[in-house]
């Protein structure tokens, strides 16, 4: 008898321990997929109250905001200098303490830190793809309307590019969760002299691109396009392949069910056309010598191709421009490259029928601001909104940030002449992103990881060996995509 008593005791302790950690069980069977949910009960709170100075503006007394940003590449220094400008301007009132976390596990780190309240950031600046995940797991809180009225700091989504601002509600009816700040994608640098040599114009659609490449190969014999290495990192799949899909009218996943429906009709032809468009470039060996998949390419070697005038186009991130120009100057000992290196965008490159509306779309990843649920002090919230407004709507700040290739998402700034004909924007930015309303991002799915990894598998399966049957690949990868989503609901 004693033994059974002993075992029973042990089981009871275990059960209650799991409940403690599992938290209260309320089977909110609500399916989180429909996009205009209403927040039933708030998982954040407001404390304290605002104080105003003479002009009726909110008075801040040395509030420090911990900012976690995903910006950690070559544009890190510019971002740091912008933050220093802000701290100088708001000295004694607001101070930004920014920390950059690597792109690979930014979302899981921030989620874990906020959920375990350990070194949790107050403000998050990260790629749009992770924000739906944040709101699903109740990591971030919205910028509430009445706070805006109280603090008289209003951020209105109409001032921002339509393409990006539609994501700011993250699926919650007229809530403002994340504010777009910029957008960036893969852009194209091209060699003007080489273009004149082969007597061609800048391609405006897929067919023209093929002709230019064909002509270049006949004249030069080297690969016209230098891609980043697909086997080294996922950039090629995340930006170029997705843009091709967008330009052919494809959708990565169905908005409402969040599942991939690549085999049903409207999307299927779009996906096949997208794959076909890239195969045109990659398949015929001659056109693109360095297909992104063979193991010799690396980011540096493809850059060398362009700098040594072997490649006509070089597809890479915009912030690579300075190092690209300086490298070109040294390698070809030329003083001024303005009339040698031109810039354009991948718009209309992959659209099979260039007349369609989607032809100009570019898949971007844009930085959005979001506030951690742990922020409670109202004046701190106001300070955060002040900073966001300062960062996104100040033209001089946007110009400085644009110099690293991030086009501003705010129309107020974008439309001003000062921004448009600023030297850098003039020469590069406007060519990189012809129409910011055509920028498309990941959208509202918390399974961004599944989406990206399956797009990558699709890309690899269908493009690394160009004879693969597209339809069967689409079906099999879609099945794995949907199974994973089903598991992760």
């Amino acid at each position: 008898m004693k033994k059974i008593k002993w075992i029973a005791l042990l089981c009871v302790t275990i059960l209650c321990l799991t409940f403690v950690f599992a938290g209260c069980i309320d089977p909110n069977a609500g399916n989180d997929d429909d996009d205009d949910k209403v927040i039933t009960e708030k998982w954040w709170e407001d404390t304290g109250e605002l104080s105003f100075n003479s002009e009726g503006k909110v008075k801040y007394s040395n509030i420090t905001i911990k900012l976690a940003t995903v910006v950690s590449g070559e544009d890190k220094d510019t971002f740091k200098s912008i933050i220093d400008d802000f701290n100088r301007e708001y000295k004694g009132r607001i101070a930004i303490d920014s920390e950059d976390i690597g792109q690979a596990n930014f979302e899981s780190t921030v989620a874990q830190r906020i959920s375990t309240k350990n070194k949790a950031p107050d403000l998050i600046m990260s790629h749009q793809k992770g924000h739906k995940y944040f709101v699903e797991n109740k990591i971030i809180q919205p910028f509430s309307k009445d706070l805006m009225e109280q603090s008289k700091i209003s951020i209105d989504m109409n001032d921002y590019s339509a393409g990006l601002s539609r994501y700011s509600s993250l699926g919650y009816k007229d809530e403002l969760f994340s504010i777009p700040c910029d957008a960036q994608s893969m852009v194209v640098f091209y060699n003007k002299t080489l273009l004149e040599e082969i007597g061609k114009e800048l391609p405006t659609n897929h067919q023209e691109l093929l002709d230019v490449c064909q002509a270049f190969v006949e004249r030069k014999g080297t690969s016209p396009i230098a891609w980043p290495a697909a086997n080294q990192n996922n950039h090629w799949y995340n930006y170029v392949f997705t843009t091709a899909i967008m330009q052919n009218g494809g959708k990565l996943y169905d908005e409402s069910t969040k599942k991939a429906d690549w085999t049903s009709e409207p999307n299927k032809t779009a996906m096949t056309k997208a794959i076909q468009s890239i195969r045109d470039l990659v398949a015929s060996e001659g056109v693109v010598k360095y297909a992104p998949f063979n193991d010799k390419t690396s980011d540096d070697s493809s850059q060398l191709e362009f700098v040594d005038n072997k490649a006509l186009f070089y597809v890479y991130f915009p912030w690579r421009i300075e190092s690209l120009e300086s490298l070109y100057k040294t390698r070809n000992n030329v003083q001024d490259v303005t009339d040698i290196i031109g810039t354009t965008s991948v718009a209309n490159w992959f659209a099979m029928d260039s007349s369609s509306a989607d032809a100009g779309k570019i898949f971007v990843d844009s930085h959005f601001f979001a506030m951690s649920k742990l922020v409670t002090d109202v004046s701190k919230k106001a300070a955060i909104m002040e900073f966001i407004k300062w960062f996104t709507q100040r033209t001089d700040v946007c110009k400085k940030w644009a110099s690293t290739g991030h086009i501003t998402a705010c129309k107020l700034v974008g439309d001003t002449d000062e921004y448009k004909n600023d030297a850098y924007c003039q020469r590069y930015l406007n060519n990189f992103y012809p129409d910011i309303d055509n920028l498309v991002s990941m959208g509202l799915t918390s399974h961004y990881n599944t989406v990206l990894s399956h797009i990558k598998t699709l890309g690899y399966e269908t493009l690394s060996n160009t004879a693969a049957d597209i339809e069967s690949k689409l079906a099999s990868i879609q099945k794995s995509f949907n199974d994973e989503i089903a598991m992760n609901k």
């Binding site: 033994k3 976390i101 596990n105 921030v110 874990q112 375990t116 350990n118 070194k119 080294q232």
Partner: protein, 310 residues
């Protein structure tokens, strides 16, 4: 007492001596080849860490850099302060956490085995039976919930200071491995083989439990302790999946060597970083090799002295 002859008689090898001589030569040849094979990777690693980048491309098949290509560039690169390979921190973290892990395990195993064998109290047999049953349960089942507990308690504690969370993380790296059942039962089996009259006589001389433990039991258990040190050391130095879970969000300078060096083997690792990868691994391996050179003969003899009974 044998009388010694001044001049040695002519050496005539008898049949059995000849077979022993033949066996020795065969084993010498085989072991020589095996040793060469075992040394090859190590020599290659050290050699490549000194090759200049140019030499890395042109003479990959040379164990050592070709003339004039010796360079310390790779060592300089990761030793400089701002480089992202924080090798010193990694070494420090790995060393002290492994030593603590080994020390705790040995201490705990000795204590528990001593209690289970030499002290008697109610429910001892039941506990041992439970241990034997639980030995079959692999630790993998507990990883996910343990991670959840780790996160939940950290949430509860709300540690603000860096040192606090550093200590908390390493508490969770060291502790799970300490209660390994296999080692403890190994020690218990060894204690069972010690004749009881040694302990009884000591106890009759009035020795307290503590004195018996330190003076008699521990010296006897030298070989099993060596075995446990051998298992726990390699186990904790090479542990990969649990620390990876815990370090997912932490600063790089808190990582252990094994986790740190996986940075070079990840798919994202740049292909051209061979030199730096080799230099870092040589540097990471150095302290352990030095410790090994001193202890290995003592360790191996210790292991063999009293044999092991499972």
């Amino acid at each position: 007492m044998l009388t010694r002859l001044t001049d040695k008689p002519k050496k005539t090898l008898s049949k059995s001596e000849r077979t022993i001589r033949k066996e020795k030569t065969v084993s010498f040849v085989v072991l020589f080849i095996v040793t060469i094979l075992w040394m090859l990777p190590l020599i290659y690693m050290v050699g490549t860490s000194f090759k200049s980048d140019y030499d890395l491309q042109t003479n990959p098949s040379g164990l050592f850099p070709s003339a004039g290509q010796w360079t310390l560039a790779h060592y300089k690169s990761f030793l400089s302060a701002d480089s992202d390979a924080k090798i010193f921190y990694w070494l420090g973290n790995s060393l002290w956490s492994t030593l603590l892990h080994v020390g705790l395990t040995v201490l705990l195993d000795l204590l528990t085995a001593y209690v289970l064998v030499f002290l008697n109290f109610k429910g001892k047999e039941k506990f041992v039976k439970l241990l034997y049953l639980w030995m079959a349960v692999p630790g993998v089942i507990g990883t996910a919930p343990m991670f959840a507990i780790f996160a939940a308690i950290r949430n509860g504690l709300e540690i603000s200071s860096d040192a606090g969370s550093y200590a908390y993380i390493f508490f969770w790296i060291v502790m799970p491995g300490v209660s390994g059942i296999f080692n403890m039962l190994l020690m218990r089996n060894f204690f069972l083989s010690i004749p009881r009259d040694i302990v009884d006589s000591a106890r009759s001389d009035g020795a307290s439990n503590f004195k018996i433990f330190t003076k008699i039991i521990v010296p006897l258990a030298r070989s099993t302790i060596m075995l446990i040190v051998l298992f726990t050391f390699t186990g904790s130095w090479n542990s990969l999946n649990w620390p990876q879970l815990i370090f997912s969000g932490e600063a790089q300078k808190w990582w252990t060597v094994t986790i740190g060096l996986t940075k070079f083997t990840d798919s994202q690792a740049a292909a051209a970083a061979t030199g730096v990868a080799m230099a870092t691994s040589v540097f990471a391996m150095l302290p352990i090799i030095i410790v090994f050179l001193f202890t290995q003969s003592k360790m191996i003899d210790g292991l063999a002295s009293t044999g092991i009974k499972a």
